[in-house]
């Protein structure tokens, strides 16, 4: 008989714009401890394998996986780090359990992005170094944000011959992609603004959200163009926080007496990194959703999915992703939004958590935040934002600028 994989425990910290009182390890410890208590497991005895998801440059030190075991209960145990979004960690756990190698696996991802003083430079480091990065500005940064040795008045000396003093912020790429999306789909800037309005409103009903706000389309439209047509309020602000899941094989879950939520489908896909040959229509989302739908036996996603969380780190991304994963026809997502179809009582409740626009951009924990909301909803624990009779839900992740990679996970309530 085929082994079924389910989520048996979830834990998360509060999400805050800054967390100067705690270390990143303490954030991880807290979310792990909460998830282990929720699942009723002792990590030193009951968990067979530990997975974290992180990117060295965002963390601020090299070889991140070496810094992991102590704060998650994994010292001298099978432990590895996936360099990617948290959903990739869920997929890795799924495979470890499915093969029969492991019975109980924990997955952790987090953001301590407020520790990073030069995020723009780090993301520019993810552009092709020979053909693309030099176009954004000087090879060396003209000043060194965090170092006391270099100030704006007395900057670090430049390397390489260039007269430019400033580097363009890497989110310019989202501005270009948004322009392409609006033109090819017929979506308007106002419809994208409504995504911000909706998600920041949804965030009022999610206690972990940090960026809830009552704003109007006019507020978003009135915020300044940073990368036209992308405006300041179209961009999700950064947030710190950690999320941990415990996954287990069905039999173990039943022995522990927890109400399991099944991970019934998973898919992932990577676009070419070359801007020159890459599409601008989130093909990574289309491909990964097709793989996940097939595994989960979903033939009509619009009908079969009760709730979805899609990446909305830039407002247009929510609409683009809904179209890419087959929940809206090309160019229709904006209209569906305006007609209320993406609201709690609509046909496809989307980002009820508040999404990245309402909670904050938690970087490699973003996909886990999406999955956390789906698990909470399928458990029926979402209080005022609870979607009635939610039995099947989808979490979609994108790795952010400048990547073209993403993953999709489908979850089902036990007995569904």
């Amino acid at each position: 008989m085929s082994r079924r994989v389910c989520v048996i425990g979830i834990g998360h910290t509060d999400f805050n714009s800054i967390t100067p009182d705690v270390e990143w390890k303490e954030l991880m410890y807290e979310s792990c401890q909460k998830a282990y208590v929720d699942a009723g497991v002792d990590p030193r005895k009951d968990i067979d394998s530990f997975i974290t998801c992180a990117e060295d440059y965002l963390e601020g030190f090299s070889i991140f996986d070496e810094f992991v075991p102590d704060q998650i209960g994994a010292v001298l145990r099978p432990c590895c780090t996936v360099c990617g979004d948290g959903l990739y960690g869920l997929g890795t756990a799924y495979m470890q359990i499915k093969t029969g190698l492991m019975d109980v696996v924990s997955v952790e991802s987090h953001s301590k992005i407020s520790d990073l003083l030069t995020l723009g430079d780090i993301l520019l480091h993810a552009f092709d170094p020979v053909f693309e990065r030099p176009v954004t500005g000087p090879v060396e940064r003209p000043r060194y944000g965090g170092s006391p040795e270099y100030t704006k008045e007395d900057p670090k000396p430049l390397v390489g011959s260039t007269k430019e003093k400033q580097r363009v912020h890497p989110y310019f790429l989202a501005g270009m992609e948004m322009q392409d999306y609006l033109r090819t789909s017929g979506t308007t800037e106002e419809e994208c603004a409504e995504v911000v309005v909706k998600n920041k409103m949804n965030a009022f009903f999610n206690p972990l959200a940090d960026y809830e706000a009552k704003i109007s389309i006019d507020n978003v439209m009135g915020s300044e163009y940073l990368f036209s047509p992308l405006k300041r309020l179209d961009i999700s602000p950064n947030v710190d926080g950690a999320i941990t899941f415990v996954l287990a094989e069905e039999k173990t879950a039943k022995e522990l007496g927890v109400d399991p939520i099944y991970l019934s489908g998973f898919g992932w896909s990577s676009e070419t990194p070359w801007l020159s040959t890459r599409g601008m229509s989130a093909d990574y989302a289309t491909k990964s959703s097709q793989m996940a739908y097939k595994m989960a036996g979903i033939t009509n996603p619009r009908k079969q999915l009760d709730i979805v969380e899609v990446d909305d780190r830039f407002s247009y991304k929510e609409l683009q992703h809904l179209e890419a994963i087959g929940l809206a026809r090309p160019g229709e997502a904006g209209q569906m939004l305006m007609e209320g179809e993406l609201a709690k009582d609509g046909a496809i409740p989307t980002n009820m958590s508040g999404g990245s626009l309402g909670i904050g951009n938690c970087f490699e924990a973003t996909g886990m935040q999406k999955a956390l909301e789906i698990i909470t909803q399928l458990r029926g624990h979402a209080a005022k934002r609870q979607v009635a009779d939610a039995e099947v839900g989808l979490a979609q992740a994108w790795r952010g600028i400048p990547s073209g990679s993403g993953a999709v996970a489908v979850f089902e309530r036990g007995g569904a």
Binding site: P20, D21, G120, P134, Q166, M178, Q179, S276
Partner: protein
């Protein structure tokens, strides 16, 4: 927070200010060297065509990402350093979030006679936010100042 003790005085949390030295020497590679060494002498670009599917790559590559096959030397070609804007944006802030001294128009430019595109800066008097479809040509450094990097392409301008 699962700890019994927490910091409650906001004036006391301390930190260590870290500094990461990370400097690199990026090889252009075989395809990159060919492209940039050509650009030091000529005002045109080099592109490479997949022998199987016929896709013409710029920036040029030694292999096709679709067919996963080699692109041989005889499949390289010279193309004009001009094209049509596929997508553009006007960037207002720098990597630290501070205003740029002057807004920068970043664009992805579909290069004529190829299936590829180059990322570039555009200088124009046109004030429209949307420059898609505009034909632009590369403005290059004077030949005696070229160094064999992307900096040899100063910007693109309408023609």
């Amino acid at each position: 927070m699962t700890f019994l003790e927490k910091q409650t005085d906001p004036t006391t949390p301390m930190h260590w200010n870290g500094d990461m030295q990370a400097d690199y020497f990026y090889s252009n590679g075989v395809a990159g060297d060919k492209f940039f060494k050509h650009l030091m002498k000529k005002d045109t670009f080099l592109a490479s065509e997949c022998p199987k599917c016929g896709v013409i790559f710029i920036p040029p590559r030694l292999y096709c990402e679709d067919c996963f096959c080699d692109i041989p030397d005889e499949n390289w070609m010279e193309v004009k350093s001009q094209g049509i804007i596929r997508a553009n944006t006007t960037a207002m802030i720098d990597a630290h979030g501070d205003p740029l001294e002057e807004p920068v128009i970043m664009a992805l430019i579909d290069i004529d006679e190829t299936d590829g595109a180059m990322l570039g800066r555009v200088k124009t008097e046109i004030l429209d936010m949307d420059l898609c479809g505009l034909t632009v040509k590369a403005v290059l450094r004077p030949k005696n100042e070229r160094e064999g990097t992307m900096k040899d392409i100063l910007y693109y301008e309408p023609y």
